[in-house]
């Protein structure tokens, strides 16, 4: 997207690869929501998706090492369409290829993780993974309820 596109507002947040840094995201989302009139339901979905993505990058992608960065770029394309682009320098990993765990039929069947991937896939309107030469780029898109626009056709499994 052309950085001089008058119809797109951009914001950027850079985090260190520490779980404690994820706490910086909700207040950032609050400010974005106020600035760009993001509906609360959409904001909640954004909050959820970013929590899951960032947690995975920090814990698994970077293996808990705190000396790395994660960059989140927000784009408000107006007309009720919002995008987050999350970039890291972790080993190549596409969360879209991770199968969701089977839906548990009994409380005892729930073990381990996997719910984060399910929540990510169900909460975002579109997700696209691009491998980069030195990391990953994940684009997560949201369409505000009632918007006449649809998210672009991107790969989501």
């Amino acid at each position: 997207m052309d950085s001089h596109d008058a119809n797109t507002d951009r914001e950027c947040l850079t985090l260190e690869s520490k779980l404690s840094e994820i706490a910086r995201v909700p207040p950032w989302l609050e400010s974005l929501a106020a600035l760009h009139s993001i509906p609360s339901r959409t904001q909640f979905a954004m909050d959820l998706c970013l929590e899951e993505v960032l947690s995975n990058i920090i814990r698994h992608g970077y293996g808990g090492e705190s000396s790395h960065e994660i960059v989140i770029r927000y784009q408000n394309h107006r007309n009720g369409f919002f995008t987050f682009v999350v970039e890291d320098h972790a080993p190549l990993f596409n969360p879209l290829t991770v199968p969701c765990p089977p839906v548990p039929r009994a409380l005892e069947d729930i073990s381990g993780g996997g719910q984060g991937i399910r929540l990510l896939k169900q909460s975002a309107d579109a997700i696209e993974h691009e491998p980069m030469s030195n990391g990953n780029r994940l684009t997560i898109s949201f369409v505000a309820p009632g918007s006449s626009l649809a998210a672009p056709c991107v790969s989501q499994s």
Partner: protein
């Protein structure tokens, strides 16, 4: 995330959660939830003031529920907001840990 408990009539323990059940919030209450799971057999988790829940928050609910059930007890969730409940339903937790929006009904389910 803040956690407090209240003993109700009939041996029911009301656990009130206030805040975000995100990674930090879950870590803040995991220990106390585990203690409750190991000592109480009828637990009502009051989620009216839970503003957010992620996958770590789901674990913070599931693990105690499993432990309580393993000891022959019951746990229910009371009053989640619409958006929090949507997360519980997305992960099918609502089919495994009952959700109630009526307080008396939630208490009755534990007796």
């Amino acid at each position: 995330m803040q956690i407090s408990t209240e003993e109700l009539e009939g041996g029911v323990t009301r656990v009130v959660l206030d805040g975000r059940l995100d990674i930090a919030g879950s870590q803040a209450i995991d220990l106390k939830m585990n203690v409750i799971a190991g000592t109480k057999k009828a637990v009502l988790v009051d989620m009216q003031k839970v503003s957010f829940i992620g996958s770590m928050g789901l674990r913070t609910l599931v693990a105690p529920a499993q432990a309580i059930r393993g000891r022959g007890g019951k746990m229910v969730l009371f009053g989640p907001t619409e958006m929090v409940e949507s997360v519980l339903k997305s992960s099918a937790i609502d089919t495994l840990i009952p959700i109630h929006h009526d307080f008396q009904g939630a208490v009755a389910a534990l007796r």
